[in-house]
């Protein structure tokens, strides 16, 4: 201020010395005064002047809320701060002291932190550190804002890890992905699929698809994309382990290679070999033949080849069997047993309850214990026929004495010759009134007679006759089709005596 005042006085002196009168303009001035001309136009004095003013500069404030934190075991510290309340800093500089504030070095540069934020100071050696954050504006620095001191005690022990099948993961299995649990000795980060080693055993093929989730000490590893080869009916093993340095602890130590003995799952995606055609049990195959698969049975029972009449054996890995009816050449048809029949000691039995009349095609599909299915086996045709043929006609009936008290009674005529009808006929011989001749009242009946050609001739031998009976026989005839269905009796006919 003294300096300024001096300048002011100096200015005044210069003003006194510097004033000049312009006498030649005096008359004009006087004239202007008299005539009232504007004074501005007549300014003829040049003079000096002075003034003074102050310009205060700003003050840069330090950032607020400066904190320093470090995770236990970590070799890094995180320093955070909020913006300076005044001075509009253009950046901040984080400084670190390892000697209690004796000297400071830059931990984070200004350019990285144009605004309030955080700084991670990494790769620190063990020790106690102090941090402070300096607000920057051009060449200005704010008064220093210090954070709390923190102590770094770096973890130098590598984490260990064990890999085991995850809870609920069964072995063997046909389901993917398979799950494994990796348990670390301490919290780790950075575990990815790249750190997982999948080792397929013999009988397993494909490219493993690995997924990794988790955090802290427990991670889940999933493995999919594999299959067992067709030759490996019981599948193969899949072993999962972690490579060394697959994950890192807070101190940056890489994990050791994993250990564990339950890190293996047997993968079986192959079904049993295809079965042979199903076998219809003889008990279910009624009629003329027990192997012709033409039957009138109410229920059809199919069995394994071991207990049936077919050939072949149930494969060892077949745990249960599905029976399909009305199978087509390319499809499975309709499932007979919603609950698959269990194979026990190589045997099984499946009942098709009340199949409809007609032709049915049956086929089998095996499944192993894991649910892997075999291909569909060949088909077996079974004809279900529960309709009795029409009663045969009797166009001729004779009786011939064959002994003192015996005779042969023979009937002949036409039989019903529809599909599967040509089984056999049976002659029943009665005495007495024709209207009273029934199967139940017949004295005798003949053996079944194989039919061919549309006509038949069948005989019933009658013995133990009483004298005088001959000449009183009446016959009725029934027809049995191939499936075993018996027709109604024919109309009775009086036999004539022949020599």
């Amino acid at each position: 201020m003294r300096h300024s005042a001096s300048r002011k006085r100096h200015g005044r002196r210069k003003a006194s010395a510097g004033n000049r009168r312009r006498l030649l303009l005096l008359p004009a001035l006087l004239l202007s005064l008299v005539l009232g001309l504007p004074t501005t136009a007549l300014a003829y004095w040049t003079t000096t002047g002075s003034g003074q003013r102050t310009a205060p500069t700003a003050t840069l404030a330090p950032p607020a809320s400066v904190t320093a934190t470090s995770t236990t075991g970590s070799n890094s510290a995180t320093i955070t701060w909020s913006a300076s309340p005044s001075g509009a800093p253009t950046g901040y500089r984080v400084e670190r002291s390892a000697n209690g504030g004796g000297s400071w070095t830059t931990a984070c540069a200004q350019a990285s932190y144009p605004t309030a934020g955080s700084c991670t100071d990494s790769a620190l050696a063990n020790g106690t550190y102090q941090y402070r954050v300096v607000a920057l504006k051009g060449s200005w620095t704010a008064p220093l804002a210090a954070a709390n001191p923190i102590t770094i005690t770096r973890d130098t022990v590598a984490p260990t890890v064990t890999v085991a099948r995850a809870s609920g993961q069964v072995t063997p299995t046909r389901t993917q992905p398979m799950s494994f649990t990796a348990t670390f000795s301490e919290t780790v980060t950075g575990l990815t699929a790249a750190g997982v080693q999948v080792s397929p055993g013999t009988g397993v093929q494909g490219t493993a698809v690995v997924g990794v989730t988790g955090s802290g000490t427990t991670w889940t590893i999933t493995v999919g994309g594999l299959s067992s080869t067709s030759a490996a009916l019981n599948g193969g093993t899949v072993t999962v382990s972690l490579l060394a340095n697959a994950a890192q602890d807070v101190g940056g130590n890489g994990s050791l290679a994993s250990t564990g003995s339950t890190n293996v799952v047997t993968l079986d995606t192959t079904g049993p070999v295809a079965p042979i055609a199903p076998v219809l049990t003889t008990a279910s195959d009624s009629g003329v033949s027990s192997t012709d698969r033409i039957t009138n049975a109410a229920n059809l029972v199919f069995s394994s080849t071991a207990s049936g009449t077919g050939t072949g054996t149930v494969p060892a890995d077949a745990a249960n069997v599905r029976l399909y009816h009305d199978s087509t050449a390319s499809g499975a048809g309709t499932l007979v047993n919603a609950t698959p029949a269990t194979v026990s000691n190589g045997n099984f039995s499946i009942t098709h309850t009340a199949p409809t009349e007609g032709v049915h095609y049956y086929s089998l599909v095996y499944a192993d214990a894991l649910g892997n299915l075999s291909a569909q086996g060949p088909r077996l045709m079974v004809t279900v026929d529960r309709t009795a043929p029409a009663a045969p006609t009797v166009t001729g009936a004779t009786q011939r004495l064959t002994g003192l008290l015996s005779a042969d009674v023979t009937a002949s005529g036409a039989y019903s010759n529809g599909t599967n009808d040509a089984g056999s006929v049976r002659v029943y011989a009665c005495t007495g009134a024709a209207a009273n001749c029934t199967v139940g009242t017949a004295l005798a009946n003949g053996s079944t007679t194989t039919l061919t050609g549309g006509v038949y001739s069948a005989t019933a031998s009658v013995g133990g006759l009483l004298p005088g009976v001959l000449g009183q026989f009446t016959v009725i005839v029934t027809q049995t089709d191939i499936a075993g269905n018996v027709s109604a009796p024919s109309a009775p006919r009086q036999a004539t005596t022949v020599p």
Binding site: G11, A15, S50, R53, T54, K137
Partner: protein, 134 residues
């Protein structure tokens, strides 16, 4: 009523009085006032200076140029050399009528010169700007 024949004498006496008594005394100095307010000057900031000129005389005065200079600060470690005024001297050749604020001026700028070295001493400093009219 002054007789007509006396008008010549009156005029002569008047002119003589003006010559003897009315020759103006040396004019007083003009006053330079800064009207623009400069606050919170930061490193690198450039702020405009502007103001007015007061003429305390009874006659208009002619100015030639205006000079501005930081002549002092409130902090010895942040002297005037840390400040710069651009545009000085400012050519200001004009007539200033008697009275206050009859002439305005602008075109000067003050800045806190960015320096490679720390200027922390310049925080909160009050710099004095002296204005001189030539």
């Amino acid at each position: 009523m002054i007789p007509l024949r006396w008008w010549g004498a009156v005029w002569f006496i008047g002119v003589l009085a003006l010559l003897v008594l009315g020759v103006p005394s040396p004019p007083g100095p003009l006053e330079v006032r800064q009207t623009g307010v400069v606050r919170n000057l930061l490193p690198g900031d450039v702020r405009e200076l502007r103001g007015v000129i007061d003429n305390p005389n009874w006659l208009p005065m002619t100015t030639v140029r205006l000079e501005a200079e930081v002549t002092a600060t409130s902090e010895p470690d942040c002297g005037p050399e840390f400040f710069a005024i651009e545009g000085s001297p400012l050519e200001l050749e004009r007539a200033v009528d008697p009275g206050r604020a009859n002439a305005v001026w602008s075109g000067l700028h003050i800045s806190l010169v960015p320096a490679a070295t720390a200027e922390d001493a310049c925080q909160g400093v009050e710099a004095t700007i002296d204005y001189t009219l030539r």
